[in-house]
Subunit: 357 residues, 2 copies
């Protein structure tokens, strides 16, 4: 079967080895002669998966016992509600940075739960940059940011310093680069962009951030319930968590975050250099805020899009049409995407210029 | 590899053909040369999966366009909260039948949301029967029941008639027998017991039951948001839904509910007959309420449990230790379990009697 260069924005590419192991586990999991899909989540074998899936997060983030890791269903979208539900006190205020569609959705849910203030926004320019120079209120319950904006192709290159709890939606760039996780009170990420398949969401939270809202809480929305249950308060999304663990082990075994950060830098440099060099393409975002995970660009001659589409299709490239809010193209460069695939895309861009410029 | 007789209470046994197809999709989904785990949920191929996964539910339940089907993450446990959140009006009352651990949890969540009344309960006898002869208030917003009680091995053999909306948690016996789905306003089920792997939950709801609470709702907890989004308001649990579809197609292609109901009756008869005949075993529930999905039983000589455990282990039987709330044994007889496996268990029970009685 010919190789597909998978630039999908999410669910996104996973390592071939991981997919093979996932496939095997569907018919015979750890030589039990049973599929992973039909065994109890309370079996010893799966409890080990869950323990490892939680501990590898803390290992990769280099945090200590003051943090807890849980896995939940419902995607990051459910976290847009759970974060304020668990952290925003009845009379408190939540502070948000609005950098795109996902931030906007997070803000919408927070407003349903309590007082919510947008500190800064880049909506004025269709979210093509990351706001800077804003002031974070010191009396808010927390400050919420989105580290990478999948749709608009921007990424925070540094994180704000603040005395209040910092909360981050890292769905689309988690474990793609070194961050100081100890600066955050809560990090969450839907798995399906950079660490696994769709269907599970990881939340890492500082223990002392919880239990302060005074709210009587629904069990399934209460982080403390899930922490107490070791992410098994209810039946967890067994298979998605397993594949997430496989993906994180792949990362760790290959050299961890230091290793992948270097490769991600190479991939981003390779593609952005071509976008800037090629007379037929232009990037859509502020250069200093360009995402290393999702590179958004347009053709300078939109009438030639059909031709370009034909060329990358012929090269077995998949998933680079831009989101409808931006148009043009978006190449997602998640951890599992090899540099080779970026080279193929760049070659197509060059051939396109040679033919039509 | 030798065959394991999988009596797990959930996640439970799935058809071997389904597991093979699931395994294949992990490496190459529908000849796309891509894994199902790494393609966009917005791709044509996956949109077809989702459409089919929703329509097959309505087909199997024989309901019309006045019903909507959605798939969500979070398990049935999240539905314990979402049902009252969507159906219980600010000044209304919800009525519940308490038949076990899951009902009790559903009641707990409903009480957090609004006025909740338990109409009848079998807690007085550790839930070993289904209450009868109770009166359902005609002014409640809905009446909630649990059709099958996995832990205690009881099952409602008929459903109450009422003028108010009837809501049913069918997690552990959905599609195991014919029910008149049109009598229900809402049916929900975690997939992992009788229709798929862990990680997705199906909700079928009558359209006219929604939008009446006056509550300002969080998006992810609002059925109408998910209906409008075609279960794609956020990234759905892609793989668990796909395997659920495969399992339901397996059911349909083999003869549908009429076919499986007959087999389930044979399996239940086979096992309960042996429990009643064998001097070393005794059932734990009221005979008229015995579940066809989860058969709970004890040895009359508990000191011999070690011997029995050894014997069924040697016969490649898996997953029949009872829940800690009941003890003894629980054999789950979900749709995918073949009669052959029940015969093997019965043979072991007979051999056990021959040796020790």
């Amino acid at each position: 079967m010919s190789k597909v260069h998978n630039f999908s924005a999410g669910p996104g590419i996973l390592p071939a080895d991981v997919l093979k192991q996932a496939s095997d586990a569907c018919v015979n999991f750890e030589n039990l002669n049973l599929s992973l899909l039909e065994i109890s989540h309370r079996s010893k074998n799966y409890e080990n998966v869950m323990d490892e899936a939680r501990s590898i997060i803390k290992e990769l983030f280099e945090v200590g016992d003051n943090y807890e890791v849980i896995y939940l269903g419902g995607g990051a979208s459910l976290q847009f509600a759970m974060v304020p539900y668990n952290l925003l006190s009845e009379n408190g205020t939540a502070a948000y940075l609005n950098t795109g569609v996902w931030s906007t959705k997070a803000i919408k849910e927070a407003k349903i739960i309590g007082n919510t203030k947008v500190i800064a926004s880049s909506e004025d320019k269709n979210f093509n940059y990351i706001p800077k120079g804003y002031e974070i209120p010191t009396d808010a319950d927390y400050f919420h940011i989105t580290s990478n904006n999948t749709i608009f192709g921007t990424q925070m290159k540094s994180f704000p310093k603040t005395s209040i709890p910092l909360v981050c939606d890292m769905s689309s760039d988690i474990f793609s680069r070194k961050v100081n996780a100890n600066d955050f009170s809560l990090i969450y990420a839907g798995a399906q962009k950079n660490m696994g398949p769709a269907g599970s969401t990881m939340v890492m939270v500082k223990k002392d951030a919880l239990g302060k809202t005074g709210r009587k809480m629904l069990s399934m929305l209460d982080y403390q319930v899930h922490i107490k249950g070791g992410s098994m308060y209810n039946t967890p999304p067994v298979f998605p968590i397993y594949v997430t663990l496989l993906t994180l082990k792949w990362l760790k075994q290959n050299g961890g975050i230091a290793w992948i950060e270097k490769i991600n830098q190479q991939k981003a440099d390779c593609l952005y250099n071509e976008i800037d060099r090629n007379s037929l393409f232009v990037g859509t975002t502020a250069i200093e805020d360009r995402s290393h995970m999702n590179a958004c660009f347009l053709t300078t001659k939109p009438e030639l899009e059909v031709e370009f589409d034909k060329m990358w299709n012929d090269a077995n490239i998949s998933g680079i049409r831009g989101h409808r809010d931006v148009g043009g193209y978006r190449a997602s460069l998640y951890n599992a995407l090899p540099l080779e695939s970026v080279n193929v895309l760049v070659d197509v861009m060059k051939a396109f210029e040679n033919k039509f410029a």
